[in-house]
Symmetry: C2
Subunit: 370 residues, 2 copies
């Protein structure tokens, strides 16, 4: 996992390849441009938002190796904006160019079971979980997790897709069938006080930094708001940063990585359970664009380019609100609101549940827990 | 000049056309993208830095009307990033689409004599000046300005190009010949204490706002640093903002406009003389990218799109340093400097005097003059 360490930093004018052309790729491309890099975006969707802000793009499927080879020949380094990118595509690219982060962390993050096993192996607390590969596993799994629990397909889930809540052991069969009998993981439902996340970043030389923990509110399984600072004890926020940094280091990650936590009542103090890792720039870090000198996007680009990391401190408290689906129709009133820092993704069509943009609001910094 | 007032704001997804593909166009395109706009850049140089961050571009000369007509058909509004754009091109575009700012202010800013006459007509103080159209004007002009003075070609000057310092009346002939006997203006050399500038912005509905005055240091006629706040009395900074706002209003300007001032000793207080107007986003406003919630680039885009202006307040003091020519070779040490916010323009070739990027440094805000 240390293949690239010690290589020279990529000079400005180099081309960064990005697999995936959604809003995360778009914001990465904008950050890369500020540092003098060119971007080349690879995405099958001809209307990818990232194409509009990039020097070049390739419209092809992730399993078209000929297109991937041309892409590799045109860029100096590649990264990706979503963790469901084909592992085979990443491995193909890695035969000729550096791909950062590498495929090892990606493989872990693509499989909810592998991820949870990795975390417990690293001594990091998670909710009780068990593998569900077939009906034969129901009894054992239910005994491990108890109920209510959540059955999640091991692969290709996002924004609550591929998940079913299971109230009793009798519901397991229905849930398993609804998920298409895909290999799954059963997890105990955690009675959490709040959800927080930390965006950490690890540089090519192994240095790690973390942004302040954000408190997240989801609606219909989609992130609605992220607020910084989170309403947790200072030691809880510090512990979350430490765990996130440990995860980044243990994965040999290069770039930004987000870790979602449940905050649960503990014996005397709050305790943390890791819910999920996203080995990429993350929606819960969008507040860094306006409240920090260096955003998560710039820091990801810095890491991928082998540059030193930038500072992760915040100069303001912040609240990020996603604009989902028809929320985008409110653009005019938000444009007129002097407190709203508006970010729109340039998506041509509006669909329910589709992330169309976000709004950051800044507040004078008030630290908690002192 | 009020043609556009009252029109609806352009919705996100609209296309903004930009005449000129240099670093100012590039930073405008980046700001436009954050608000969900597409950009189409028109520039004769096939290696224009703005192309790399725009959805579309046209490579053509500014006097190719067929190309201009195609460009007009592809965009919803047009603007420009430099004041030496062909007035005929702007007028051609304006027959079919809104061009903001319009041609009236452009014509004034393209002619140093017209600009100075406009300013004095508006009751705004400038250094003594006189027209020099031929040798016959030497005696009268010299009597008006006194010596030393500066002879400036009326048109197409920038970064000190097209200017000659004239120590005595005997030097006028040489300077006039060196400038190719082009129509010129003679201006008295001002014994200024410092140079400051104000970036103002006027919206489509006529509202005006101004960023805090920056203090500028030039080397070899090229801006080296801009520092905010300027080391002037609060009332001087306020007067500069007021004058800049009056100029924007008097020109019927839409978008950002920068006004450069000489600060000179006055009777009891500092006095201001306007040196030059730049009716566009300006190098001395690059500090707003990191020290303000809304940068000069976003506010220009807002004005051009008919959106309400964003706030112009600063949350940090700032110092902007240009990276000129070989300065860009220092990118690696600046990348490693946690206090340096690096902005590089992606220019492929380095030339002496060429602006390659800039660095912003932020400091806790300390207001002067209270």
């Amino acid at each position: 996992m240390a293949e690239q360490v010690g290589r020279a930093a990529l000079p400005p004018g180099s081309t960064i390849g990005i697999l995936g052309g959604g809003q995360l790729g778009r914001m990465l491309a904008l950050a890369a441009a500020r540092l003098g890099f060119r971007c080349h975006v690879f995405c099958p969707d001809p209307r990818s938002p990232a194409f509009d802000v990039s020097a070049a793009h390739t419209i092809a499927a992730y399993d078209e190796f000929e297109a991937l080879d041309c892409f590799a020949a045109a860029v100096d380094v590649a990264t990706w904006e979503f963790e469901n990118v084909d592992l085979a595509a990443v491995e193909r690219l890695a035969t000729t160019i550096p791909v950062r982060p590498g495929g090892a962390g990606l493989a872990t993050a693509q499989d909810r079971l592998a991820e949870k096993r990795f975390l417990t192996g690293a001594g990091i607390a998670v909710a009780p979980f068990a593998s569900v590969g077939s009906e034969a596993d129901f009894a054992t799994a239910g005994a491990v997790t108890g109920f209510p629990a959540i059955l999640k397909a091991r692969r290709f889930g996002y924004d609550g897709k591929g998940q079913r809540r299971v109230g009793t052991s009798a519901d397991l069969q229905v849930a398993f069938i609804e998920l298409g009998r895909a290999p799954a993981i059963l997890e105990r439902v955690v009675a959490f006080e709040r959800e927080i996340s930390v965006v950490a970043v690890r540089g090519l030389a192994g240095e790690v930094a973390a942004y302040d923990a954000a408190e997240n509110v989801h609606e219909d399984h989609i992130l609605r708001t992220s607020t910084v600072p989170a309403a947790v004890a200072q030691q809880t926020a510090a512990a979350a940063a430490l765990v996130s940094s440990r995860i980044a280091a243990a994965l040999g990650h290069v770039g930004v990585l987000a870790v979602e936590f449940f905050v649960v009542p503990g014996s005397g103090a709050e305790a943390l359970l890791v819910n999920e890792i996203a080995p990429r720039v993350h929606n819960s870090g969008h507040w860094t664009e306006d409240a920090c000198a260096v955003s998560q996007f710039e820091n990801h680009v810095r890491a991928v380019a082998g540059w030193p990391l930038g500072p992760t401190g915040r100069h303001h408290d912040a609240e990020m609100t996603n604009m989902i689906g028809e929320d985008v129709a409110r653009w005019a009133s938000l444009a007129a609101d002097p407190g709203a820092r508006l970010h729109l993704y340039g998506k041509a069509s509006v669909r329910p549940g589709r992330k169309m943009g976000h709004v950051n609001r800044l507040f004078a910094r008030h630290d908690r827990g002192h």
